[in-house]
Symmetry: C2
């Protein structure tokens, strides 16, 4: 059963509610993070919670719990779950924005625990499509709740797994993932000043180094997709997911490629190192 | 007392709540509108509700109530209020996004009724400042709940009344208002393909025509601010509010100007025509 930690206790997620006066509802003011478990232990929990704190601070929201308190609640929630879980801590703007300090003075924190649903095996076997949109992601360094465009834009390509932000032909990231292109045996991915600092992005860069694969941190260009051999997206739940089509453009041979598979195998080999 | 119509009845706003499973909380999926009253009658209710319907449809959300049902609930809510009111109908993404139809199949509708708080008299007497940001408004034709950037960006100029979107030096709109510049006796305001179709924007254009003031629908440029005589922003609650500074740039003589005042007087003269 999915759970929620809210107001100091755990309740079934479907019974949890938030006052309508909260600015997360009225004005979209909220940030969150997503943490995945493996063998019922959280993967890179510290990195995720540090990013969560950073998203909050950059939004003028101060966390009402310490780092250690959040860790302890997350461990307790994982224990209560009967399966691998996705854990999503959220912090909201609360009811009040103080124009003097320019901060939200009474934020609400809640943590959702849900059973993990990974992408279907076919998605890994065949690769997925992305729908490019010529736009920047909103506040790219902050994991805000604003994902609305990822729903509304998908209508252009019903088979797309996610949208891909390609402002002026420069590929930054997709709606829920970081993006990597493989060209001439190098991985190419947008630099951190353009995208959310994905924890799996960071792991992939370190695995690539172990495997002696060169990594270039620059935005891949839409115009070089035709020369690309492979592409993939990364995220805590999807891990490393092959991309075989972007808009109308088929990547490489239109099938998941060997470098993507090699990186994913190495990721799975290493995963126990990252459990906390 | 502020009220909320939700789940078929009116409750005190502070008692209204929304399930945490709703995508308006988890993913920022929701649209709304703001309607103001005068003499306890809604101003341009039809235009606002049509825009609300349009925002919803463009977001893949279908309204569970008919237009007439919404009108009737809004009239009932206004009657229950002891003051002039701001009425905000919201529709959320609900818990479910259907990947086949690409729509939100179980949206939630609620309508908030709050006592009107107009900008302070000094804001009209002295004019307000705007904080320019070099960005586009997110989904400009849709009144989505995503206003987070308007809080986080304001920290650059604590005295700013609102932020002003100025992508590549072209002024589109401010976070909660349409923007008008007055240069050489003409009003200049961004065209409808760049901004939210403000109902007060439309009224100002019609008043300008009555007063034989020329209106140019093109984006005012940041580089022409120094040649501007006056500027103002428009909205249902603020009506016509003089702008006397944008970032570091003082507009005209740094005081509200005669054309802005003339338009606002005419607005107030005409207001009873727009009550429904």
């Amino acid at each position: 059963m999915d759970l929620c930690y809210i107001n100091g206790s755990f309740v079934p997620l479907k019974e949890a509610a938030l006052p309508l006066t909260d600015l997360i509802i009225q004005r979209g003011v909220g940030v969150f993070d997503s943490i995945s478990t493996h063998l019922k232990r959280p993967i890179r929990l510290t990195a995720h919670l540090r990013r969560f704190e950073k998203s909050a601070i950059e939004s003028g929201i101060f966390l009402p719990l310490t780092f250690d308190e959040m860790v302890s609640i997350i461990r307790e929630g994982i224990d209560k779950m009967n399966s691998e879980a996705v854990i999503r801590p959220y912090i909201t703007g609360g009811d009040v924005f103080d124009p003097e300090s320019l901060t939200f003075t009474a934020p609400r924190l809640f943590i959702i625990f849900q059973e993990t649903h990974k992408p279907a095996p076919e998605s890994y076997a065949e690769g997925v499509a992305l729908q490019p949109i010529d736009a920047d992601r909103f506040m790219p360094h902050t994991k805000s709740i604003n994902y609305m465009i990822s729903f509304t834009s998908q209508s252009k390509d019903r088979k797309a797994f996610e949208i891909l932000y390609t402002p002026k032909g420069e590929i930054t990231e997709s709606s829920h993932s970081n993006f990597f292109l493989i060209r001439n045996d190098s991985l190419i991915t947008a630099p951190l000043n353009r995208v959310l600092a994905g924890t799996t992005r960071e792991l992939v860069i370190s695995i690539a180094s172990e495997l002696n694969i060169n990594v270039k941190e620059r935005c891949p260009l839409m115009e070089e997709l035709l020369q690309a051999r492979e592409a993939f997206i990364t995220g805590s739940i999807k891990e490393i997911l092959p991309v075989t089509r972007i808009g109308e453009i088929i990547i490489g041979k239109g099938k998941p490629g060997p470098i993507t598979s090699k990186l994913h195998r190495k990721y799975l080999e290493n995963i126990t190192q990252w459990l906390e």
